[in-house]
């Protein structure tokens, strides 16, 4: 059995410590989060983990005002897709930025958010 380069568990354990990890295809260089069994670009199974800086810019965002049961007490809150400097994107909760300052292209920086022992991807001011 091949050793997993990174699992969901290890990604979020690293993220909790403030370290964001991506996976790079050892064959074609494709960057992904999370890894796939086969590289979607070249079909190889040769992933290597790479540290990411956590810096990025907002690709799109929304402010959630009607939440699912588990997040009901948190509204309103902002969620964004952030394109990281390395070219791969992540979805995360946006914190410590006024809603009216949010715009596509705004620079932000990764930070872990921990709630009920669960680590969630967050982004704050760059």
């Amino acid at each position: 059995m091949t050793e997993r380069v990174i699992t969901l568990k290890s990604f979020f354990e690293e993220a909790r410590a403030g370290r964001l990890t991506g996976i790079r295809c050892g064959q074609c260089g494709e960057l992904a989060i999370p890894p796939k069994e086969f590289c979607p670009a070249c079909q190889k199974r040769a992933w290597v983990s790479v540290p990411l800086t956590g810096e990025g810019t907002i690709s799109s965002f929304t402010i959630i005002r009607v939440a699912p049961r588990g997040h009901a007490g948190e509204t309103p809150y902002a969620v964004a897709v952030v394109k990281l400097a390395e070219g791969v994107s992540l979805l995360g909760r946006v914190v410590d930025l006024p809603f009216e300052s949010l715009r596509v292209g705004l620079p932000v920086r990764f930070r872990p958010l921990v709630k009920n022992e669960q680590t969630v991807v967050g982004f704050g001011p760059a």
Binding site: S60, T62, I64, V66, A67, R69, V79
Partner: protein, 384 residues
């Protein structure tokens, strides 16, 4: 492969019901079987769609339950789940069973019941259709998914909240003429624009409602269809998928699965968007209709908002979209929606849609989108 036709359609009233989803399906299927003028005993299989039965009704194994309540307990049945595209996925597989010569008569449809549970519970169950590791913990909702798409479309193409509002106004105007619709009431642009934000830039009136309801269609082989007075032919039925992760979408202003499913369905049918006279598409949110009209090839990328504003998608417009009122006005019982869209197109192609009839419609298209745009189905229909 054999040609396949729809010869019977049925649906319940959409809205709040005090019956279980399986009971609702039995009513819709009963109507479809009567409409088809076939003996129930001629049905060889049930392809059934239901999404939240486990969470909302503590009911799984819903296929045999639905068949049992129909009085057809001994036919093979399977429950499908592809989020909001559920019963359209069931339909595509049923088409393959009839087309392959395995069965001559097959029943397809779906049902959903959610209005008996609190809204935040229903919102949570629907969010299970997005990813449990990357999206649910962040608190992304379905309005949130389409808000991300709307923001990207506005940024890239200059689409406005007012253009999105035109979609809601138009679909409510259509829905007034649909006796099965949940909301049979016209609304104004101002109503939409002044409604509260649910997930900016989407407001309450940009969103379809939670709905209870069921829909069913009877599918038959050409040999059986020829004995029937008004078959509607399945010209093509295609599915496409895309990454489950919003952060991996190549372009948030597009739904590429729609583009790929449409390409395959048009190819199967030997038709193109210019041949289509009437469309039922997945307007779970107003922006979804705008993006779908582009992805299906009716308008150039980025111009769907303009088309909505100009009235090109209204009854009487260039390409009438959602004459039934769409998910917005007719309602969206997620397990039933794909089949309900097919019911409307069949009714339109038979010329039986009354005041919402698209005059002379010969080719119709249905488009159903699942969840976070990771599943899309497109089917094309025609009459003799």
């Amino acid at each position: 492969m054999r040609r396949v036709a729809v010869i019977g359609v049925g649906l319940t009233r959409f809205g709040k019901h005090d019956r279980t989803s399986a009971e609702l399906f039995a009513e819709a299927a009963g109507e479809a079987i009567v409409d088809a003028e076939i003996a129930p005993s001629s049905i060889r299989a049930l392809y059934y769609g239901n999404v939240t039965g486990g969470e909302g009704e503590r009911q799984l194994h819903t296929g045999p339950l639905a068949a049992t309540l129909l009085g057809l307990a001994d036919i093979p049945t399977t429950r499908f789940e592809t989020a909001c595209a559920t019963s359209h996925a069931a339909f595509r597989h049923a088409v393959m069973e009839v087309s392959a010569g395995i069965s001559d008569v097959v029943l397809v449809g779906g049902a959903e019941r959610v209005l008996h549970i609190p809204t935040d519970h229903a919102t949570e169950y629907f969010a299970y259709c997005s990813d449990a590791s990357w999206e649910q913990p962040v608190g992304l909702t379905f309005p949130g998914v389409f808000a991300l798409i709307a923001r990207a479309h506005m940024e890239k193409h200059g689409t406005t909240e007012e253009q999105m509002a035109h979609v809601a106004v138009k679909n409510h105007r259509h829905g007034v003429h649909n006796p099965k619709a949940q909301f049979r009431k016209e609304i104004t642009l101002e109503t939409v624009l002044k409604s509260a934000y649910v997930a900016d830039p989407l407001k309450l009136f940009d969103c379809c409602p939670f709905t209870d309801g069921a829909a069913a269609v009877v599918l038959v082989s050409e040999e059986v269809a020829r004995k029937h007075r008004r078959p509607v032919w399945v010209l093509g039925s295609a599915a496409a998928s895309d990454t489950m992760f919003m952060h991996e979408k190549r372009d948030l202003a597009r739904v590429t699965a729609t583009e790929r499913a449409a390409r395959d369905a048009y190819r199967q049918a030997g038709k193109g968007p210019e041949d289509v006279n009437v469309v039922e598409l997945h307007d779970c949110f107003t922006i979804a209709e705008i993006v779908a009209t582009e992805g299906l090839g009716f308008f150039e990328p980025g111009t769907g908002g303009i088309a909505a504003e100009k009235g090109w998608t209204s009854l009487g417009g260039k390409i009438p979209v959602n004459p039934s009122g769409g998910l917005k006005s007719k309602g969206h019982p997620i397990g039933a929606t794909g089949a309900a869209q097919i019911c409307e197109i069949v009714t339109q192609l038979r010329g039986e849609a009354g005041p919402r009839q698209v005059d002379g419609a010969r080719i119709g298209l249905t488009h159903t989108l699942g969840g976070n745009t990771a599943t899309v189905l497109v089917s094309l229909f025609g009459r003799d």
